[in-house]
């Protein structure tokens, strides 16, 4: 396991060197999108339109912040990852069409995302869910917000972050999925150690 501090824009080389289990801290620009935002982004791209911000080489974050407006500026009160599995249906296309390099979320993603990560050079990482106050202290400023009509959590927030982490690489660009391996190990333990010990099955 290695630890890296990376700065956006990320190069393909930056992410290709990452292995599952590595810990990463990000400085630079991250952009939040949840289900509704993914849907809108893909609709726009399908019509040949551009997104409000070009995601190429940037970091996409599955999150909906709690924000407040101080004078005329938005401030992140707390922010943390939402469950990424809901975005699995959209992510292959998002990676393919935008050239984003890194996703942050929680809970893991599936084989289609892993395929896109391998093909286009991207990684999926997780942030410890629930550590929202800590993470807010890693967000330096709200750079911009788009699509507020989707509601505050589902809008597209462009954030400037400093040492955002710890992020663990769960899907790398070599086709490995950390959680698949953790699940496989867990299944083996349940079937060969835990159930026999408890006399179950």
């Amino acid at each position: 396991m290695a630890e890296y501090s990376l700065r956006t824009p990320l190069s393909e080389e930056d992410v290709r060197k990452l292995d599952i289990g590595d810990v990463v801290y990000i400085t630079g620009t991250v952009v939040t999108l949840r289900d509704a935002g993914h849907r809108r982004a893909l609709e726009l791209l399908a019509r040949g339109e551009r997104l409000p911000i070009d995601l190429k080489d940037l970091v996409l974050y599955h999150a909906g912040p709690v924000v407040r407006k101080v004078d005329d500026r938005w401030e992140v009160v707390v922010i943390g990852p939402t469950t990424s599995t809901r975005m699995e249906v959209y992510e292959y296309e998002m990676i393919e069409k935008t050239g984003l390099r890194m996703i942050i979320g929680k809970g893991g993603m599936g084989p289609r995302t892993a395929e896109a990560c391998k093909k286009y050079g991207a990684v999926y990482t997780v942030y410890p869910g629930g550590a929202a106050a800590l993470q807010a202290s890693q967000v330096k400023r709200v750079v911009d917000v788009y699509w507020l009509d989707l509601g505050v959590p589902d809008a597209m927030w462009v954030l400037e972050v400093e040492n955002l982490g710890p992020l663990t690489v769960v899907i790398d660009s070599k086709g490995r999925n950390f959680y698949d391996e953790v699940y496989a190990e867990a299944r083996r333990k349940i079937d060969t150690e835990i159930y026999p010990r408890l006399g179950i099955k």
Binding site: V66, A133, P166, V182
Partner: protein, 302 residues
Amino acid sequence: MSIASIENKLLEATVKLIEAAAVWLPDDVENALLKAYEIENIPATRSFLKAMIDNVKIAREKRLPICQDTGVVMFHAAVGDKFPFTGLLPSILRKATVEATKRIPLRPNTIDVFTGKNPGDNTGRYMPWIDWDFVEGSDTAEITVLLKGGGSEVIGRAKNLIPAEGLKGVMKYVIEAVYEAGPQPCPPIIVSVGIGPNVSTAMKLAYKGLLRPVGQRHEIPEVAKFEEELLRAINDIGFGAHGMRGKVTALDVHVDYAPRHPATLSVAVVINCWAARRASMRIYPDGRVEYLTHPHLNKEVV
């Protein structure tokens, strides 16, 4: 004190209770996290636990929500039959939810199932949710608030087992639920299990189990032993904090039960994430309030 002034005082006290739950993790949960940090030795797992523990401190000091998903507001009221203000409680708890949503702030999380509308204040049909228990011979009321985040609630489930499956069947059902949930409910989790004659009673008991502090065993030795066995089995699965691998997948397991019907054996499982936000207070018949999970607040109360 007039009824109106008691009402105002209890409203303020309840807003404070909700704030305590949102920003200040109960000691029993924080201590369990610290213990997990000591036990684990995988670097990624430790760095995640450290982030969570740091987060708990920052949230407490800056009075910020521990997690951005401040959940659904669920109250439990254990009310004495001689407690004089029972009738005031539903409106107080509702108003306090609205006020707390503004003040802390809480994320507005109640979406009407039929209209799709979010009123923005965490209320709605039957919301905030209130479970009632009546306590014979008591003249106080004990109010607990739980802020239940979506990531762990989505794992909750119940099933009617075949009675022949017995307690081993219950164990298997719980272990499989935890396995399927994997890292989704933000482990280390608290697992609460209800067993009974139908899924409704089983689920009710499972939710009630979340009121019990981490580390507290059931008063019936057989149940306590069952809890310990289940806790060990779940931790042996090896998910660790957020699925980073490790020895602590669950901080605790709580089990409670009611008799089953000869033809039924129902089991319910609810899971709480590590951010187990819970706060309790006792209201006395003179309107005085004592905070139970967050005793430091008692100094701030008149």
